[in-house]
């Protein structure tokens, strides 16, 4: 049987960042994916690093990520299009303003220095904003990058250091014996490794079930689109009116948001990711926020699937039993977090411990989660926007 030091399941940005750091630390690492590299959520994200003001328990890890982002191009050797120009979350009607003020309370519990700014300050930052803008939460920190390029950059940097990626090789199960993992079973046979890291998004739940482990994730389908390229309008990561909107380096306006659909996934097949007429409504909201975009053209839309934990926070866990098993979920904000998650997960895989601030982010917090949590949360497949 073939043998590696570490097998990482999932060639998304979290798996690739983990593999990169583990390989760089001297381990022999194999990454397996059932599809192509970076073809799922990681290449479909909007591309924000959020500093997680919404969930202050994650702030410390997000700030580690922010530091790593600043040096990522150099570290990996490929451009990620990282743009560190701050983030604005604005309100354009009274209801949104009230909600945003409530949200700001949790932001104030962080040490990041978020500010609540008035309408004029918002429009000074982004002059193209509607004159209905009422105010917003702002930080000069945070930023955004190109998800496709960044994910591929991790993949290439990993290969450059001698790592191996096998695409189109679904992992069917984790091999375990006498309280320790010893590899994985794939559709093309068994592969040995003393350490197995699961970064397979919602599929991780399925892979852990046979080991009697509850790893609570709910998959959800989200929609996005881009316009044709436009001259520069703004560089901030921007949120308003139920949308996340950024302008890419190339000039496209990239938008995502709105009603989402809870789904189920299976272990082997590529999950379907259809788009819906929702893009018409997203377009309407986009034009409401940025009236100047009326004559911009919608170029392509797509959907992506993210894995959400019950409290929407990152989940990283190194298991005592079976030994040699680590699993992680980015809970829908893994693009920005991946540089830090990769370091933390690689540390856990190689040394069993990490200096990074993930103490609040382990599986332990779900010890008393009800077995039917997805039903209780209204997050079962087929539910929409609940």
């Amino acid at each position: 049987m073939e043998s590696f030091d570490v097998i990482v399941v999932g060639a998304g940005i979290v798996g690739l960042a983990t593999a990169y750091h583990a390989q760089k630390s001297g381990a022999r690492v194999l990454v397996l994916d059932k599809g192509a590299t970076g073809y799922e959520a990681s290449s479909r994200a909007t591309g924000y690093l959020s500093l997680r003001g919404e969930t202050p328990e994650e702030c410390a890890l997000a700030q580690v990520a922010e530091k790593l982002w600043d040096e990522l191009d150099e570290e990996l050797g490929y451009p990620t299009e990282w743009t560190q120009k701050g983030r604005l979350w604005a309100a354009i009607d009274d209801g949104e303003l009230a909600e945003l003020k409530a949200t700001f309370q949790s932001f104030q519990a962080t040490d990041i220095g978020f500010e609540f700014i008035d309408a004029k300050a918002c429009r000074d930052l982004i002059p193209a904003l509607t004159d209905k803008t009422l105010g917003g939460i702002y930080t000069p920190r945070a930023g955004h990058a190109n998800p496709q390029r960044t994910t591929q950059a991790f993949a290439w940097a990993f290969l450059d250091r001698g790592g191996e990626i096998r695409e189109h090789t679904p992992v069917l199960s984790v091999l375990e014996k006498g309280g320790a993992v010893h590899g994985v079973r794939t559709t093309r046979g068994d592969i040995h490794a003393g350490t197995v890291v699961l970064c397979a998004a919602s599929h991780t739940t399925k892979l852990l079930e046979p080991l009697g482990i509850v790893f609570p994730l709910a998959p959800v389908r989200l929609e996005a689109f881009v316009t044709a390229p436009l001259p520069p309008l703004f560089e901030e990561a921007f949120i308003a009116h139920g949308l996340a909107v950024r302008q890419t380096r190339r000039g496209n306006i990239h938008v995502n948001g709105g009603p989402f659909e809870w789904i189920d996934v299976d272990v082997t097949g590529e999950p379907a990711k259809p788009t819906t007429p929702l893009v018409r409504n997203i377009a309407q909201r986009l034009v409401e926020v940025f009236p100047v975009l009326r004559k911009a053209q919608m170029l392509r839309s797509w959907a992506g699937i993210v894995d959400i934990t019950p409290d929407t926070m990152t989940l990283i866990h190194s298991f005592d039993t079976p030994r040699g098993l680590v699993a992680a979920s980015a809970s829908g904000h893994g693009f920005g977090m991946a540089p830090a998650m990769g370091v933390a997960i690689a540390d856990l895989a190689l040394q069993g411990r990490t200096e990074l601030p993930i103490g609040d982010l382990t599986l332990d917090r779900f010890a008393s989660l009800p077995g039917d949590w997805r039903r209780a949360w209204n997050w079962q497949a087929g539910n929409i926007n609940t």
Partner: protein
């Protein structure tokens, strides 16, 4: 027909097949809507989808009302449809089609997204018939972005449909049946055809067509290929070289160049809907998988195309809609075009080299594409690029989506319609991987770029507005 067997049928594409199906379905008592994007708005035409008009769209097209009349009059079958009370919607883009499917369970009745200059609708239907026709295949050569270079479908549209062709001396690239058709139409309109360029020694459309062309006095330039369209602001000539490598450059005087090498099926709707596709080596393209009744892998969605068969498809689809089992028809005659497209692309590459712009929208050369170089807006901020071939340890693979994302070839305004097929052919030759093994780049809705204010919909329900979250959030009171 009983009222319960009347189906609401949406037909996309008023080609001859599309019209004859719409008529037959209407005569069989169905409730039929026929949609066609022509006459296109100037903005749509300028995006070269589906026809490659290039950078010189005749001024006459600016008068959109006058043009609309001319376009409709050029299609008598559409009038028959009007008269038979088919609900005909011209100037209308079918930009997306939606149905309940895995991981999308809230569409309800199937819907077709329709946008025109003055309407934005989701058309509910029971049956969808895709008769979306063909688009131009336009490989690159130096100067192919100059005003005056266009594809054969665009040329025929300007001559016969829009009736505002402006060329006086046209060079035709290729000797395909479309090239012959174009030549005929152009001569009839008083245009001079300065020659037809053919890289081999054989007339691609066959001996009879070659004789006809000779009879019309049009020179066929055998064993030659174009290396450049010349001119500063518009075409004023072309450079040809012999394909046998003897090297002497020949200059030719012309004001227009018609690329008439072949055409490809418009598969973006079925592809983006997730219908299963198969690679058809004779067509040189992916086509929807269909059963004997013309149904794709999506129930109630039919594919009606000259690339798949002939007139017999009309009755086969009608029978299938009526619930009858349909016996397989004899396979359509193979048109064996793929080889001709590949021959042109290979010869253009051998003679023109790496420095020719492959992607007009994003300004990417063939060499930059094949070398997986980052796009220009990143200003060479990259260490040595990787190879396009993945799966080094197993079966070598190329994924066009990855190529597209990294180089931006196919990511531009034209949605890849100008370059995606040449890109695949180039990859196939360069890396020795069969076209059928190159995972094609995905097609996405909207299948035409659409102004946001045309596609934006104010039909958000109060419930949707109330619950519109920008992101999933954990329930508060748990």
């Amino acid at each position: 027909m009983t009222s319960s067997s009347v189906r609401r049928i949406a037909v996309v594409g008023a080609s001859d097949l599309g019209c004859s199906f719409a008529l037959a379905a209407r005569q069989a008592g169905h409730d039929v809507t026929l949609v066609d994007e022509h006459p296109q708005s100037l903005k749509q035409m300028s995006l070269d989808a589906p026809y490659f008009y290039g950078a010189a769209i005749p001024a006459a097209v600016l008068n959109e009302n006058a043009i609309a009349q001319v376009v409709l009059e050029s299609n008598p079958e559409i009038f028959e449809c009007f008269e038979a009370e088919v609900d005909v919607r011209v100037g209308t883009i079918a930009w997306g089609a939606f149905r309940n499917a895995p991981n999308s369970a809230h569409i309800g009745t199937p819907k077709l997204g329709l946008v025109s200059q003055d309407s934005n609708k989701l058309l509910e239907h029971d049956v969808l018939v895709l008769a979306t026709g063909a688009r131009d295949f336009v490989p690159s050569f130096a100067g192919w972005d100059l005003p005056g270079v266009f594809g054969v479908k665009a040329g025929l549209a300007l001559l016969d449909i829009y009736q505002c062709y402006e060329g006086k001396r046209t060079l035709v690239l290729g000797t395909s049946p479309e090239a012959v058709k174009f030549t005929r139409s152009a001569l009839a309109a008083g245009v001079e055809i300065v020659g037809m360029v053919e890289p081999t020694q054989h007339f691609a459309a066959g001996r009879l067509a070659a004789d006809e062309i000779a009879g019309l006095g049009v020179p066929v330039l055998y064993g030659r290929i174009i290396t450049a369209a010349e001119g500063k602001t518009a075409v004023n000539g072309a450079q040809l070289v012999p394909t046998n490598g003897s090297g002497t450059v020949e200059g030719l005087d012309c004001d227009t160049i018609c690329i008439a090498i072949g055409r490809l099926p418009n598969i973006e709707l079925p592809a983006a809907m997730g219908c299963q596709l198969r690679f058809d080596a004779s067509v040189g393209s992916w086509l929807p998988e269909t059963d004997a009744g013309g149904m794709t892998s999506a129930a109630g969605v039919y594919w009606l195309s000259r690339f798949t068969g002939g007139e017999e498809q009309v009755q086969a689809i009608l029978a299938s809609i009526g619930g009858d089992t349909v016996a397989p028809a004899a396979p359509a005659e193979s048109v064996a075009r793929a080889d001709y497209l590949q021959l042109w692309v290979d010869t253009l590459f051998q003679t023109g080299g790496s420095n020719v712009m492959l992607c007009q929208c994003e300004d990417v050369t063939r060499g930059a594409f094949l070398g997986l170089e980052p796009p220009r807006y990143l200003d060479g901020q990259l260490r040595h690029p990787q190879t396009p071939v993945t799966g080094r340890c197993g079966v070598p693979r190329i994924h066009q989506d990855q190529m597209k994302r990294m180089t931006r070839v196919g990511m531009g305004h034209c949605q890849g319609k100008r370059c995606r097929d040449e890109a695949a052919l180039l990859l196939s030759t360069r890396f020795g991987i069969g076209l059928e093994s190159i995972q094609p780049g995905s097609y996405r809705f909207p299948v035409r770029p659409l102004d946001l204010d045309l596609i934006a919909a104010g039909d958000e329900t109060p419930e949707m507005r109330e619950n519109w979250l920008y992101w999933p959030a954990a329930p508060e009171n748990l």
